[in-house]
């Protein structure tokens, strides 16, 4: 079987298209590359959607945590504390068993027990909490002068937030937010190892890699392939976020613009 046929059979295997049975013996490098790459679709799916939805919740949480009114502040603080203070792995398990209970109680909740939706919700809350904390920090370091200038122009409330505070907050928090985005994509590899079942062996990149490692007893091929894909993914992510960063800082003089470094920080 040529490599192109393998690609045709397995490129969308993780979504359920193409060949139904996974290769069982005589594994070729091409099969491993194709299947693991196919699994990467799920990593991108979880990462992109959780990040996209999470952004809005994160901004709300940041504003909530900075609010003077405890009615808004306390829930935001607790949300951030719970999701940042506990391991994502435990959150996945807890959410899965919670969704199972909900399903028993009301069949309406059935879709939540699938990885497609259930894991996405957990990742969404998780990244919202981490980014919320980042944006909260950025919000606190918005220069006083900027806010005073906005007030001098007669801006108040929503206008002031939308035109002055929000863009500055985003600009200041963006490098850390990039870092968080990278971590989120890395965290998506946990999904299929934490309770959420992989239906009909439709899994993510690491799921297929560990499948190959289990079958061949040779970790030296599948895991470096995953690593390769993730390095690529990280580079693409840094590129995209760098573009946004350039746009956010376009009003600053050249030498004051914070550079996006190709080397991201590695701590969250």
């Amino acid at each position: 079987m040529s490599c192109w046929e393998t690609v045709a059979d397995y490129a969308f295997r993780s979504l359920g298209f193409g060949e139904r049975l996974l290769p069982r013996s005589d594994f070729t490098l091409c099969q491993q590359f194709t299947l693991i790459g196919s699994g990467l679709i799920w990593n991108v799916y979880y990462g992109a959607l959780a990040l996209g939805f999470g952004f809005f919740l994160a901004v709300s949480l940041a504003v909530g945590k900075a609010a003077a009114n405890p009615l808004f502040r306390k829930p935001a603080e607790w949300f951030i504390f719970v999701f940042r203070g506990s391991p994502l792995f435990i959150q996945f398990f807890l959410a899965y068993f919670l969704f199972l209970k909900l399903k028993q109680w009301q069949p309406v909740f059935d879709p939540l027990t699938s990885a497609v939706l259930g894991a996405l919700i957990v990742l969404f809350f998780n990244t919202a909490a981490y980014s919320g904390e980042i944006f909260h920090g950025a919000l606190r370091s918005v220069p006083r002068g900027d806010v005073e200038a906005a007030e001098a122009y007669g801006m108040t409330g929503w206008t002031k937030f939308r035109r002055v505070i929000f863009p500055t907050m985003l600009r200041l928090g963006w490098p850390s937010y990039t870092n968080e985005a990278i971590f989120l994509f890395h965290a998506t590899t946990l999904v299929f190892f934490s309770g959420f079942p992989a239906w009909q062996q439709k899994g993510d990149a690491l799921y297929y890699a560990s499948y190959f490692a289990d079958k061949t007893f040779n970790p030296f091929i599948p895991y470096p392939i995953v690593a390769f894909y993730f390095v690529l993914l990280t580079l693409v992510l840094i590129g995209l976020f760098g573009l946004v960063n350039r746009r956010l800082n376009r009003h600053l003089p050249q030498d004051q613009r914070p550079r996006m470094r190709l080397k991201p920080q590695i701590l969250r």
Binding site: P87, F97, S210, F217, V226, F230, K263, L267
Partner: protein, 293 residues
Amino acid sequence: MFSYCEDPSTLDGLVWLSCYLTTGKQFLFYQSFGTVLILLFITAPVALAFGFGGAIAARSRIAPLRWVGKLYIAMVRGVPDIVYFMFFVIALDQALEWLRHKWKCPDWDQPIRQGSDFIVCAQAKLPLSAAPQVWHEVYNASLAIFTFGIVFGAFAANVLFGAMRAVPRAQIETAEAYGMTPRQAFWRILVPQMWIYALPGLSNLWMILIKATPLLFLLGVEDIVYWARELGGSANPRFTDYPHGDWRLWYFLALLVFYLAFTRLSEIVLGRLTERLSHGQATLGGVKQGKAA
């Protein structure tokens, strides 16, 4: 445990619960919290040692050593740490067995990898298949600790490398002016001063390490996640005196609370430590303390 627990089927409510929570299996669950803490407290120094070595290597004047150090630091960027965990546990195991195989069975002529199998001679197996169960567990745990040490060592190396560069250059120059050799300047001036710069990064790392401990479950250690799944699953009346439904939700809720408490406690302790270490340092925090006094 209690005398009234003789016949659990007659009990109910809190009394039943007090009996249920003190059965032998439950104690295995409680013990596994201890296991996790022990592993954590062993892993942290191991990771710090790896990190220190990595940071020194990355600063070395010998180019190949420097490259190795830089590569080690760069390793954790871009690739999820869980990939390393799953990789190193098998890779280390196979590497050790292969080395022992070379040493103990030199006249073995078949290839190590036959199709989908990894075959070494019986004397090279780790631990030996006749060894008691305890050794298998100890071996698994040490592989897991070593793996965590390697991966978190790379994080720590990054932090320490940055901290060593953050110590003001003038301090080293002063040491040189006093006639210290580079080695003396490193150990007597640089290392004692770098900790305050490393502390924010290391505290962060400690938090990440705490939150990574449930992953030990994936490496085959019987930790709290393992026991929570075991004990939480519905218990059939035929096999146990304490039948119950699917309680995994509550078990994992307990784990969540445990981790929340643990990270919160660490935060408070690390905050105090930062304050202490800032005494007399030429950093913003240290200067602020000096002014207050």
